[in-house]
């Protein structure tokens, strides 16, 4: 006799309970992951956002003859201890470039010293009570205030935290990524096309395939060693430059691009290839006219993800000397440069308290760039995806 409806329902109860339990466990896992992400972002933003504000002081600068020799003479003695050293340093230079300034005076906003900045942000500083009182008074008078730190986005690194900016690192990153993309994308895509569409399936190609998959799992610092040994020591590529950094990261990005391109090519239905062969396409025409256009969104997404990964990479760049002190924006691919994660790494090692927020600020910028890169990957995919 077969089970009655009630018996079946009885059995089903347990099964339904199990699936409900599994559903809640997965939701819990998602919530936990989301919470970690939220805490991380909140922490980074709370630490990093102050870096986008900077204390400024409104002072009078007198371009006297004394000031032409020693910038300190140009400002009121009371102020000279609380403004950034960088301000007084450039005054003689300004006067040399523009002799007509001699004898004039000008009222303007200048950078405050890091101590003032940190004091106003409520962080512990080495200022005595007199100085603190004076700053409070100046704030009341409106001579000291917090302003948007545009310099953080327009200047290079500096040993003075109030002067340090991320611009040279951003430019360094952009140039390095250009080199990486220019090398890794064509080589990676063509390799994948060969392996997927042309190569015979034999021992050799299987060996190559296994090795490419393994390459993707190799610790990135080894690529740095390879870059040092091959590119710098053997080929003599100048060290610390976007060129050598980009070449090293290209090695690291290649397997990612190859693997994602192969996946994208494999996802193109075989029937499209048959249709193309059937009308008399050569192999290359099949790839160029039919397979590649369909695989392109996947290839681009994979490449951008690979690039984003390379962008966040620090270890191999340390080995090829890209953790350098770069105060000026790099102008060419063969000049020393630094990249954003390396800049964050440098700042995190600075003893001064004011660099803590620079570190967090650098991370915020890096994250913003990475998120926008990944978002563009998603958008590209959406735009070029063919749903037919």
């Amino acid at each position: 006799m077969s089970d009655s409806y009630d018996q079946i329902s009885q059995q089903l109860k347990g099964r339904h309970r199990k699936s409900t339990r599994l559903k809640y466990i997965s939701m819990g896992a998602l919530a936990l992951a989301g919470a970690f992400l939220l805490i991380f972002f909140a922490d980074m933003l709370s630490k990093g956002l102050p870096a986008f504000k900077q204390a400024m002081i409104n002072i009078e600068i007198n371009y006297t003859e004394d000031a032409a020799r020693n910038g300190r003479e140009a400002v009121d003695r009371d102020f000279s201890t609380i403004i950034s050293r960088s301000v007084v340093r450039v005054i003689p230079l300004e006067m040399r470039n523009d002799p007509s300034l001699l004898g004039t005076s000008v009222q303007r906003w200048v950078l405050a010293s890091a101590d003032v900045d940190q004091y106003l942000k409520g962080n512990p500083v080495r200022l005595d009570d007199d100085e603190k009182a004076r700053i409070d008074r100046l704030v009341e008078e409106g001579k000291v205030e917090m302003q948007f730190n545009a310099g953080f986005f327009s200047r290079g690194d500096s040993k003075m935290p109030e002067l340090a900016g991320i611009m040279s690192a951003v430019i360094g990153t952009v140039m390095t990524m250009i080199v990486t993309l220019a090398i890794a994308f064509p080589i990676g895509v063509m390799t994948a096309i060969y392996l997927e569409e042309f190569a015979p399936d034999n021992r050799l190609t299987q060996l190559i395939e296994i090795n490419i998959n393994n390459l993707a799992a190799i610790p990135s610092i080894l690529f740095g060693l390879l870059g040092l040994a091959i590119f710098i020591n053997f080929f003599g590529v100048p060290r610390s430059t976007p060129l050598v950094g980009g070449m090293t990261l290209a090695l690291m990005t290649l397997p990612v691009i190859i693997i994602s391109t192969r996946t994208a090519l494999r996802s193109v239905p075989e029937s499209i290839r048959h249709a193309a062969f059937g009308v008399g396409c050569s192999r290359w025409q099949v790839v160029k006219d039919h397979v590649l256009p369909l695989a392109m969104p996947g290839i681009m997404t994979g490449s951008i993800i690979g690039l984003a990964q390379a962008m966040g990479e620090t270890a191999p760049l340390i080995i090829v000397g890209m953790v350098a002190f770069i105060p000026d924006v790099t102008a060419s691919f063969t000049e020393a440069a630094t990249v954003m994660p390396a800049q964050v790494f440098t700042w995190s090692g600075e003893p001064s308290r004011a660099f803590v927020e620079k570190t967090a600020g650098g991370i915020v910028v890096l994250l913003a760039v990475l998120i926008s890169l990944n978002a563009s990957a998603v958008l590209l995919r959406k735009k070029f995806e063919r749903r037919w």
Binding site: P200, A276, G278, V279, G280, C281, S282, Q285
Partner: protein, 279 residues
Amino acid sequence: MNSQAPQFSQQMAPAAGQPYTRNEQACHDLSIRVRDLNLWYGKNQALMDLNIDLFQKNVTALIGPSGCGKSTFLRCLNRMNDLIPSVHTEGLVEMDGRDVNAAKMDEVALRRRVGMVFQKPNPFPKSIYENVAYAPRMHDIVSRKAEQDELVEKALRDAGLWNEVKDKLQEPGTSLSGGQQQRLCIARAIAVQPDVILMDEPTSALDPISTAIIEDLMDKLKEKFTIITVTHNMQQAARVADYTAFFHLGEIIEYNDTKVMFSTPAKKKTEDYISGRYG
């Protein structure tokens, strides 16, 4: 020669009203001549000593149970089997007096002469227009835009699709219904003006109405093209084919005029199959 294989030269009967000529002599209406064709997938032999003559401007149906090698044989005719690395063939497939498997025969040139329509409609993910225009442009059959437009219209008319799509040529080919897609694939195949069109179960994914349209189309197209079609549907073979070949386990059991074969099959196996006793 396999002892079970039909003695082809004796077995070939002249069709009523067809100018039949003997195998060994050149004959003007012979399209493809196959002699002692063997094919292996790795170590498995899929085709055994096939001998068959396929005639021009006729529909030849290949029937037989699943796995009997009829689709494999069809793909030998335009060397689509080359795409499968494990396949190895021996024997002669001769088209217009040329061995298609010869080293100097370019398979791209061959496929220009021998078009193919697949089991599942597989239009390119491009516009309807582009689906048809792509191959002629690639083969330099057309150069000017006007010529191309003309050719696209003609191919779509020949495929009986023009009236349905003339107002939406720029829409994706995949937006059409299954039957329309299959006719688009036929238009794509005839646009390069081949001699032979291979059809691999062209109606098996379609509803009866679309199937009937395609069958009518095959009837019209045989005025211009040699059509070789694989089908699982014996009524379809009886309806559209002038000649029918019955495949079983990689061999051609019987090949004859369709009417003769369906009324008086020469072999027991053929009779069992077409009467629905197995397969």
